[in-house]
């Protein structure tokens, strides 16, 4: 009988393993994982086999091939002799460029408009509201078309460029009044873009760069000292104006000491376009403005929600402490609002980066546009699509990681 008992106990212990939800859960997860791995293995194997059978070349070796096409805007040197891989890097840098400057501009416009929506001034409040409602409710592609075909395309041709400057007089049909002089900035606007004078630094220019570094270090030091003094004695120090003076004054001083080592190269007219100087292409300009203005509308709403999310009692308490409204906003409201603002702001930054792929519609050579060209020239669709996905995933994860870090830093630190 004893042996039967033992056997029965062994049975029930085996059954109890199956009935144990913890063990069962692990078994199911292992099964799912194996199935997933097998599925991926099957898809990859199938793809490779299909490509081989169809005599379609596969793999990433094509990236070393000569591109054969030119790219209108590139941050690094590129010619038709460069490789496909370099073309992709050019595209990635162009994406990063437009996303980077777009994020900065959208944040600035967004914060201004968001605060403007809460203004006590009726006109400012309504103007900001109209801006937000207009841009938030139009698809971003149309905003891009608006800037490209609606604004920049209708600018005059290069030979009739709009010269930017201040006329020190005005002409009427009766004659000329004032000084017959046009204070030109050497900048021109036409349907080929925005042309600015290019700064050409001469010898001794390093002194200016060094001065800027020194100025920043001094500002940091002054700010720290001022804070310590305020905490110790309650006396304030005009940190802001000191900083401005340092950051502008020191480089200017260095500039003078080095003997003004700066020349400007002005854009000049040639047969077809303006040449020389610094050129901002209309495609970049349109995409940059569109993404900035579009995303700013969303950021404005996030900022408004963040500020309204701070308890009214906080404002009243700051006034009770004798803070002026600007100080209350800067020292009490905004720091608290930031905790509400940052998480949704992150997703707006991600949206802006991803929306930059709409560049293809107006011919701005971003990663998707250049990848598409390569895809079409080489026919390696699977590889190019994989590269696109990996790069955008990487960009988004990097942005998220940075914003999460920033959020953690801004989060309420309980003492």
């Amino acid at each position: 009988m004893a042996s039967q008992d033992v056997a029965g106990r062994a049975d029930s212990s085996l059954a109890s393993y199956f009935n144990d939800p913890k063990i069962r859960g692990i078994v199911y997860q292992v099964l799912l994982f194996v199935a997933l791995v097998f599925f991926i293995y099957w898809v990859v194997g199938n793809t490779v086999e299909n490509l081989r059978r169809s005599n379609i070349s596969s793999g990433f070796a094509f990236l070393n091939g000569r591109s054969g096409f030119d790219i209108s805007q590139s941050l690094i040197s590129f010619s038709s002799d460069s490789r496909y891989s370099r073309a992709l890097v050019v595209g990635l840098l162009n994406t990063l460029l437009v996303a980077g400057v777009g994020i900065v501009t959208a944040s600035i416009i967004g914060f201004i408009v968001g605060i403007g929506r809460l203004s006590r001034n009726w006109l400012i409040r309504k103007l900001c509201m109209v801006y937000v409602e207009v841009f938030r409710n139009i698809p971003p592609l149309l905003v891009i078309f608006f800037w490209y075909f609606g604004v920049i395309s209708v600018l005059p041709a290069p030979r009739d460029s709009i010269a930017l400057g201040i006329p020190l007089g005005f002409e009427t049909s009766y004659g000329f009044y004032g000084l017959d002089y046009f204070l030109s900035f050497g900048s021109y606007l036409n349907n080929r873009g925005f042309f600015l004078p290019k700064t050409m630094w001469g010898e001794g220019a390093w002194l200016i760069a060094a001065a800027i570094v020194v100025a920043i270090a001094m500002v940091w030091f002054v700010a720290r000292k001022a804070r310590q003094r305020q905490e110790a004695t309650g006396q304030q120090f005009p940190v802001f104006w000191t900083s401005v003076a340092l950051i502008i004054g020191l480089p200017l001083l260095a500039f003078a000491l080095a003997g003004f080592p700066l020349t400007l190269e002005f854009p000049t007219a040639s047969t077809f376009n303006l040449v020389g100087g610094f050129q901002v292409k209309p495609e970049f300009l349109a995409l940059y403005l569109a993404l900035s203005f579009y995303t700013a509308a969303f950021i404005a709403e996030i900022v408004r929600a963040g500020i309204l999310g701070v308890n009214k009692g906080q404002t009243e308490a700051s006034y009770a402490l004798g803070l002026r409204s600007g100080q209350a906003l800067r020292l009490v409201i905004i720091p608290q609002a930031m905790r509400i603002i940052i998480p949704p702001l992150t997703s707006q930054y991600l949206n802006l980066t991803k929306n930059s792929s709409l560049a293809i519609a107006i011919g701005y050579p971003d990663l998707v546009a250049i990848g598409g060209t390569i895809l079409n020239q080489t026919g390696q669709s699977i590889e190019i699509v994989a590269i696109w996905m990996v790069v955008y995933l990487g960009l988004s994860l990097a942005t998220s990681a940075f914003m999460n870090w920033f959020n953690a830093k801004m989060a309420l630190v309980e003492r």
């Binding site: 038709s80 395309s153 060209t373 079409n376 026919g379």
Partner: protein, 421 residues
């Protein structure tokens, strides 16, 4: 080799027309829409049809036979992005159990129609008419293949494709045949896994400028420093880079994906010049705000042989498409037309009898996997090469393209078919 007297040839080495050369076929008079061949119409109907099919292919892990099950619905899904299609196509390529089935003919016979990839909307070459039927020079080739197989030129379904989708569609088995003004190049022939079944239209790339804004410019060599509008992903884009590099000229490419955008940018003055196939420039010129202000420069910088493509690895299918094209050209040579094909069957001429499969115990058609009266069916269905040309893009059409390079070899052109015997 010497099909054409040498005085007609333009020097390919330096990509220019020698000043003293006489081009009797005056390419500048050709009006065609080849450039528009790269057109991405953005047609939502086309978009949806392809989307559904590719999605279907991916979802069903489609075997070739399953493709019949996928609805060929052409309802619109507005504003879908083309990238989606490319991604789905890539997915289909991975998932389809048999992307390149060896026996395309068997599949085509089993499903009862030829699935043909054409341009989205390219007047003269492939565009739906007011009744919604696809018509055009490239469409006729699809119909001819259907007629050769089924004896019925209507047993064909069309998949409108843009420049970017066309290759993936063919690679993934979505279409059986690509007849979409596609330039025959080595890399497309090899690394893309295609075979070109011949050339149904010979073209070359040129430049167009606004003569009113740029008086004094009468050669492409004067375009140094110009901004040039071009469509992306085309051979045109590559030829442009090569030409300016070879001539040590600077230029600024302004590239767009869709043809409408290139046209709009050029018309608004974003570019100084527009480049694409020369015949296409003339057709695009007609769509500009002030056509008379624009001139096409004389240089032809490339060869653009346009022809139908099939997948590699199916020689029988390749033969059918190739010989369908040859049969149309041969029929024109032999004077066989849509109108007289029935009476020609009784012709005593042994050549004509052989072409039309009227020889006793002829095996020519059956060896190809078709019936012996396959040529009769083709000519009854769409007419010979010349008839198709004149009806769609030649004198019988609004385009009025001269035959030029596309005349028969006996009339000073390049169209030369191998003999059916």
């Amino acid at each position: 080799m010497a099909i054409r007297p040498s005085k007609w040839s333009f020097s390919v080495e330096n990509f220019q027309t020698p000043a003293d050369s006489v081009i009797p076929l005056d390419l500048t008079k050709i009006i065609a829409f080849d450039a528009v061949r790269e057109r991405e119409h953005g047609s939502s109907a086309a978009c949806e049809a392809t989307f559904r099919k590719w999605a279907g292919t991916a979802l069903l892990l489609s075997h070739e036979k399953n493709r019949d099950l996928i609805p060929n619905n052409r309802k619109g899904l507005v504003g879908m992005k083309h990238t989606v299609k490319v991604i789905l196509g890539a997915a289909a390529l991975g998932m389809a159990a048999s992307a390149a089935s060896a026996a395309t003919l068997d599949d085509v016979k089993a499903k009862g129609f030829v699935q043909c990839g054409v341009n989205t909307a390219l007047a003269g070459f492939s565009a739906p008419n007011d009744k919604g039927e696809w018509t055009g020079f490239d469409v006729d080739l699809c119909r001819a293949v259907a007629a050769a197989i089924f004896g019925d030129p209507t047993k064909v379904k069309f998949t409108p494709t843009n420049a970017k989708e066309r290759f993936t569609a063919l690679q993934s088995g979505e279409i059986d045949l690509l007849s979409r003004n596609t330039t025959w190049t080595l890399s497309r022939d090899t690394s893309l896994g295609f075979n070109f079944a011949g050339v149904n239209y010979y073209d070359g790339q040129g430049f167009m400028i606004n003569a009113k804004k740029l008086p004094g410019v009468n050669s492409a060599l004067q375009l140094s420093g110009a901004s040039i509008c071009v469509q992306t992903g085309t051979t045109t884009e590559l030829n442009l880079a090569d030409y300016f590099k070879a001539n040590n000229l600077e230029y600024n490419p302004v590239v767009f994906e869709k043809l409408e955008e290139v046209n709009a940018a050029y018309d608004s003055g974003r570019c100084d010049a527009y480049t694409t196939d020369q015949s296409g420039l003339y057709s695009i010129r007609l769509t500009l705000a002030a056509p008379d202000d624009h001139v096409v420069l004389p240089e032809i910088i490339s060869k653009e042989p346009l022809g139908p493509a099939v997948r590699q690895g199916d020689d029988q299918w390749m033969d059918i498409v190739k010989w369908t094209l040859y049969a149309m050209v041969l029929a024109e040579e032999a004077g066989i037309t849509q109108a007289n094909v029935e009476e020609m069957k009784n012709s005593p001429n042994p050549d004509i009898k052989r072409i039309l499969g009227q020889e006793a115990d002829s095996k020519l058609g059956t060896d190809l996997g078709l019936s012996n009266d396959w040529v009769v069916n083709i000519i009854k269905g769409v007419g010979n090469y010349g008839e198709s040309f004149e009806r769609n893009i030649g004198q019988g059409s609004p385009l009025k393209i001269a035959r030029g390079l596309n005349a028969l070899w006996t009339k000073g052109g390049l169209q030369y078919a191998m003999p059916i015997r």
